[in-house]
């Protein structure tokens, strides 16, 4: 099992040997080509060495660990598929998967749609205070996720004095128990995700919109296209690569949701808000069950591969 991690290492290490000049020629007579190759290997080797130790080896070892029973201290014990069976039959795991998907959709989809609308508004000609709006809308992204989760955690306090409940009461609704109810927790976490990322997506869409040549709109106007037609036939198709990128990035980001629920839920890991990575973290560092945690990591890896493939598949289809 230790072997695979050595591969890039040996490759990098064997390099100096390869262009070794033989005994007759002194070192500085290396041909230009060999010198380049030597520099090339030398310059990329730190990455591959570090990656071998802290990236590749851990990944491969996770696949090994998924089939072992281990608490991190004692002996490992081979248990076959038992960890996977345990995870896949654990209702909390399925709950975490459902939560991740639910929060991902509630937190992401509106973000992308509103992002496009805001970008369109920001891009409209002759707008004053453009940079003021741009900076304000982008500011949430600069804050750390922990800070966001703390602030929203206080805003979504379940008591009557929680800011969101104050607003709800003021509008004539009852208070919601944000930290314990099934959808309260999800909506609170989704709101944090939404708030932090909507400005970021807006700015990316704005960059995309500014990349669309004005001539296209001019030509469309001459042909008598309405604003709606311009959006439908110029803006959306030209923006498509960027929309796909943001969908792709936010799907992967949503699957890895961790900080917001952990900070919001505290050490309770409440079922209403547990996500897949939180489940993984709990298995590993609360239950000291490294085997089942690794099995969870492997399952998450495959889920992300499948989702990425679906994304690519649809991208290709829409392109035609």
């Amino acid at each position: 099992m230790a072997q695979p991690q050595l591969q890039p290492q040996t490759e990098a290490k064997s390099v100096p040997a390869k262009p070794s000049p033989g005994k007759k020629r002194p070192f500085f007579h290396l041909s230009e080509k060999k010198k380049d190759a030597l520099s090339g290997y030398l310059y990329i080797s730190p990455f591959y060495l570090l990656f071998a130790v802290f990236g590749l080896f851990p990944m491969l070892f996770s696949f090994y660990l998924g089939f072992q029973k281990w608490n991190g201290l004692g002996e490992m014990e081979f248990v076959g598929l038992q960890n996977f069976r345990f995870v896949l039959s654990d209702p909390i795991f399925w709950k975490s998967l459902f939560n991740t998907a639910a929060i991902g959709i509630i937190g992401t989809l509106p973000q992308l749609i509103i992002g496009i609308i805001l970008a369109y508004a920001l891009n409209s000609a002759l707008l004053k205070f453009k940079s003021f709006f741009r900076v304000s809308i982008f500011m949430p992204y600069v804050t750390s996720t922990v800070a966001v989760a703390i602030v929203f955690g206080v805003m979504f306090n379940s008591q009557d004095f929680g800011l969101v409940n104050v607003v709800l009461n003021w509008l004539g609704f009852d208070s919601v128990s944000w930290s314990t109810s099934e959808w309260g927790v999800k909506i609170a976490i989704s709101t944090m995700v939404f708030w932090r990322w909507v400005g970021y997506n807006t700015i990316i869409y704005l960059a995309g919109l500014q990349g669309i040549p004005n001539d296209l709109y001019e030509a469309a106007k001459i042909d008598g296209a309405s604003i709606r037609q311009q959006i439908q036939y110029i803006t959306i198709p030209m923006l498509k690569p960027i929309i796909i990128l943001t969908v792709f990035l936010s799907t992967i980001g949503a699957m890895q949701l961790f900080t917001e629920p952990l900070v919001f839920l505290g050490r309770s890991f409440r079922e209403e808000g547990i996500t897949v990575v939180l489940y993984l973290y709990r298995e590993a560092f609360s239950n000291m069950a490294f085997g089942t945690a690794s099995a969870t990591a492997i399952i998450l890896f495959f889920i992300i591969i499948v989702l990425s493939s679906i994304n690519v598949f649809f991208t290709n289809r829409i392109g035609r």
Partner: protein, 282 residues
Amino acid sequence: MSKTIGKTRKVSISKLFVYLLLLIAAILSVFPFYWMFVMAANHNSAINAVPPAFIPGKQLVENFQNVLSNIDFFGAMWNSLVVASVTTAGVLILCSLAGFAFAKFQFKGKNLLFIFLLVTMMVPPQLGLIPQYYIITKLDWVNDLKAIIVPGMIDAFGIFWMRQYISSNVPDELIDAAKIDGCSNFRIYWNIAVPVIIPAFATLAIIKFMYMWNDFLWPLVVLREESSYTIQIALRNLIDNYVRDNGMILSGTFWATVPLIIIFLLFNRMFIQSLTQGAVKS
């Protein structure tokens, strides 16, 4: 005549709508910052009243003193600064060297190694989490900032980004000319490539620094002692370990956020440009 008047009125109404929309978005974006400040400057009893305080009180200093007596706030800020800046510096050097090699040198297995690098970008970082933790314990790096800094130097995106930038901005002719003059490869990198890729450095530095500053899961796993906490872990501890004094908690969050906001406001153009470039081109 009447037709043109109708048209301008229609235009101004739609314009008003655009302004209104953006104003609401701007207020909603900035409001939590304002509210963080309001809470940071109020006593807990004013926060827990119905309705809660909406204007800043006089507790700003006192709340922050409470923070200081509960966590090592400045120590944690310092740790974050060390982690983020050392990692960023390391990544700039390693990624520009590797990107330079991938862009300008020919060597066996180059394409394969590069494809391998791209593939690693697709793997979720949680996959290797547990063995990584095990390696760190074996190296005896738990509670040591090295545990964050050294693995943080691995940055496939950084290499990819540098390669793209160097390929299109450092002309081959210049390199060939330098070679004819007897320049070593490292001098070519240092004297020709580095000055040209300063903008790429700036972009990568902002992306990396922010990522390291905000990173949470990995520091949470490997930093277990308070003296080694980064600010994110310290803040989290503030809410988990003590009686819920929201004035105190939000004071900690507020003072941890202020430096970022100031830096952002000073360099916002650069920030926005960097992060959009980094995202759009990846």
